[in-house]
């Protein structure tokens, strides 16, 4: 997720701003109040001083006014006063007749004193008898009576002051007060910032930590050691991180487990064959519906070398990974053991022996295993506690159930299984059909959980749909069960239906994709001329030598190369006569040498051709040939089985195609150069 960028307003500045505004408001209001007080105090002080000046002047003037020339004393006195006190507007001494006797400017002496306009008496404290305090918008005037020896007034002393002086004094006081408050404010802001910086430091750590958690790092705890609420917040975050970590581990574990279960389910699905198969006209249809939980159902069709088909279906009691493991083992074991056992019952007993170590106590496997011989329509089977086999008869339209006494694999240890298992044989008529399923089908419960689907309903669906063929039947059964449960299957549901073709003719051929297209090689061989027809007897094989002598190109071979070719061909033919045709002298088989239409060196001509053997005996495929260890005396003493070694050591390439529609085919190529090289190595080795 992309982090959203946005404008950030720092708490520090918000708080500081608020503090500044508050302090400023406080300062201003305090300033306003103190200014009023200051103005009042100053005014009173100035008034008092003015009154005292006037009183002083009156005292000083009393003697002068009585003298012959009062101006001689009073003019210098007034001049000095005004010079010393520039704030005084004027200073006048008046005699009892109202004439000016003292003035800074001597020209006004003797004039009648006229007070400035607009003066009105003003209340003032501390006035003595005869003293007057007058005020105008621009002046403050004090008149003090001049007396002599407490006699009647002989004059007046008048002192006037500009009102602006008071204003100036107030302004000066206000300025100093403002400077002090401004200094206070600055200190407050600084202190606030420093304090907030300290307080908010953990916020930065918290923020960095939370961002780290956001990025998925749950291992580094927040290192906030703080005693404020921020410390508690950090503790809460650390606590949360620890729990988140546990939750994340649990969630990862759950995810891993569900991934493994999914893997197990996929493995299980891969073990099952893909849907539909045909063989010799028989149609084999399997269907598997997996439950939400990994189940333990398994089924398989395996083509045997002799043309028969092995059918297996099993239900492992354990579910989940354990069940899946058993299922996988089962699959591998069946694929390994089906070649070993001719009897289905014996295979099941052997399976139990191999599985017993893997199965938990109480865990068991119900299993059906059958061998279908398509050519005869014969099914040989054994069932270890599995649901009964269903057989639908085409001719009558009836359903037959074939239960067995077999107990499940692993249910009772100690070899009891073998006593309960036996091979049963069923003959399928054309059009007949068999069905096998796991109990996920018969024991599928309806949504109320009270009633299972049951065998009767299987029976009914088979009777209704079997005549339309195995594909339709499987679809109908699956749909019926799905409709019954109304939802996801509660248990794995596995169905296996095999139908014998209504007519014996098989129109669906099935051959594995050959490396050598045996059918095409056979066509070429038949076109090249008649084969050497060999009887299935050992004496008959002595004709190989003379035949080689006459064969194109081969007749030119001499010495070891010739002997080696004859030897390998003899062994291949002896195998067919002895093992495929059981030395039945009535039977024959064919050998072609198909030379390539090429010229050039003898080696190249022979290498380009091929031998083809065709027989109709028991199909034989030795699988992958490997050189054997002959140091084993027991093996040497057996004195047999060297034939395959001789064939593979002498021939360039050997390909077996058993049970093709044209019979068993063996293709061999020969390279004389390889023989020469080999014998050289032998000599030197």
């Amino acid at each position: 997720m992309k982090p959203r960028r946005r404008a950030v307003i720092s708490i520090r500045w918000v708080v500081t701003g608020v503090a500044v505004v508050l302090v400023a408001a406080a300062v201003l209001s305090v300033g306003a109040v103190s200014e009023r007080n200051l103005r009042r105090t100053l005014s009173r002080e100035i008034e008092t001083r003015l009154v005292l000046e006037a009183r002083n002047l009156a005292l000083t003037s009393s003697g002068a006014l009585l003298s012959e020339f009062p101006e001689l004393t009073l003019v210098p006195l007034v001049k000095t006063m005004q010079a010393e006190r520039p704030e005084l507007a004027f200073v006048v001494v008046v005699d009892h007749l109202g004439r000016i006797q003292g003035h800074a400017d001597p020209r006004h002496l003797g004039e009648a004193y006229t007070p400035p306009a607009g003066l009105v008496p003003t209340a003032a404290s501390g006035l003595k008898g005869g003293e007057r305090f007058l005020g105008s918008p621009s002046l403050l005037v004090v008149e003090a009576p001049v007396t002599y020896a407490n006699g009647p007034p002989i004059g007046r002393a008048v002192v006037a002051m500009q009102r602006t002086y008071v204003e100036r004094a107030v302004a000066a006081g206000r300025r100093s007060q403002f400077l002090f408050l401004a200094a206070l404010l600055a200190v407050a802001v600084m202190l606030g910032l420093v304090l907030l910086g300290g307080l908010l430091k953990p916020v930065a750590a918290l923020r960095a930590g939370l961002e780290r958690i956001g990025r998925g790092d749950l291992d580094t705890p927040l290192a906030v050691n703080d005693r404020t609420e921020l410390g508690l917040l950090a503790d809460a975050v650390n606590d949360m991180t620890a729990r988140l970590k546990i939750a994340r581990v649990e969630s990862l574990e759950r995810e891993r487990l569900s991934h493994e279960l999914e893997l197990a389910r996929r493995i299980q699905q891969r073990l099952l064959p893909r849907g539909r198969r045909t063989a010799s006209g028989y149609v084999l249809v399997g269907a598997h519906r997996a439950a939400a939980e990994v189940g333990g159902d398994y089924y398989d069709f395996i083509d045997l070398a002799d043309g028969r088909i092995a059918l297996a279906i099993a239900d492992v009691s354990g579910k989940g990974l354990g069940g899946c493991l058993v299922t996988s083992m089962l699959s591998a074991l069946v694929r390994a053991l089906h070649t070993v056992h001719v009897s289905p019952a014996a295979l099941l007993v052997d399976l139990e022996r191999h599985l017993s170590a893997t199965l938990e106590p109480g865990e068991f496997v119900t299993m059906f295993y059958g061998l279908l011989d398509p050519s005869r329509g014969r099914l040989t089977y054994a069932s270890a506690g599995h649901t009964p086999l269903l057989l639908w008869r085409c001719a009558s339209g009836r359903v037959e159930w074939h239960p067995t006494r077999g107990i499940p694999l692993g249910a009772v240890r100690g070899g009891v299984l073998a006593q309960t298992l036996e091979d049963h044989v069923l003959e399928l008529e054309p059009g007949d059909l068999i069905a096998q399923f796991t109990d996920g089908v018969s024991e599928a419960f309806d949504p109320t959980g009270k009633e299972a689907f049951g065998f009767d309903r299987v029976d009914q669906v088979v009777r209704d749909h079997a005549r339309r063929g195995p594909d339709e039947l499987v679809a109908a059964l699956s749909a019926a069960v799905a409709g019954w449960t109304e939802g996801e299957p509660q248990d794995d549901e596995t169905l296996l239906v095999v139908a014998r073709p209504a007519r014996a003719a098989s129109d669906e051929k099935e051959t594995p994709r050959p490396r050598f297209d045996a059918a095409l090689l056979l066509d070429d061989a038949e076109a090249s001329g008649p084969p050497l027809v060999l009887p299935a007897s050992l004496e008959g094989l002595s004709v190989l030598g003379p035949w080689l002598e006459r064969a194109p190109h081969l007749g030119e071979l001499r010495g070891e190369e010739r002997r080696r070719l004859e030897l390998a061909l003899y062994e291949a033919c002896a195998n067919i006569a002895e093992h495929g045709l059981k030395l039945d002298a009535e039977q024959t088989f064919d050998l072609w040498w198909v030379p390539a239409a090429s010229s050039g060196a003898l080696d190249a001509r022979i290498r380009a051709g091929y031998f083809l053997l065709r027989d109709h005996g028991f199909p034989f495929s030795p699988g992958r040939w490997q050189p054997r260890d002959l140091d084993d005396v027991g093996r040497r003493l057996q004195g047999r089985g060297f034939g395959l070694d001789l064939i593979h050591l002498s021939m360039e390439e050997v390909v077996y195609r058993p049970a093709t529609p044209a019979g068993n085919l063996t293709v061999l190529t020969f390279d004389p150069a390889k023989v020469r090289q080999g014998s050289k190595e032998d000599r030197h080795g």
Partner: protein
């Protein structure tokens, strides 16, 4: 077709018996040679098998030779193969079995080795 194989006891010297085989030694004829050798030789005797005139040796013949070697050895005797033809040497060397058999260049050499 008549079997072009024949086995004859040519000589008995001391406790050594010489058997000579000719023709094809294959699945059909190998049992006959084995039978002949076991009958021609008293229990515990040494056996010299002259295969100079064997024209074909199949896997059954190889097997027979191995069985014969083990049988004589287990009864206290021994088997020596004398003057084998190319048709005999080929398969034995191909199968790397010659190391399990005692092979001499000539019948005389075999008899000398046996001290007879």
């Amino acid at each position: 077709m008549v079997d072009s194989f024949n086995a004859t006891t040519t000589e008995t010297r001391g406790d050594s018996v010489v058997v000579r085989a000719e023709g094809r030694l294959d699945a059909k004829t190998a049992p006959r040679l084995l039978e002949h050798c076991l009958e021609a030789r008293p229990t515990g005797a040494h056996l010299v098998l002259n295969l100079a005139d064997v024209t074909f040796l199949s896997s059954s013949g190889v097997g027979m030779l191995l069985v014969l070697a083990e049988r004589t050895k287990s009864e206290g005797g021994s088997l020596r193969i004398a003057a084998p033809s190319a048709a005999v040497k080929g398969p034995l060397e191909l199968l790397n079995l010659h190391r399990f058999l005692t092979i001499d260049e000539s019948e005389d050499q075999s008899l000398r080795a046996l001290g007879a």
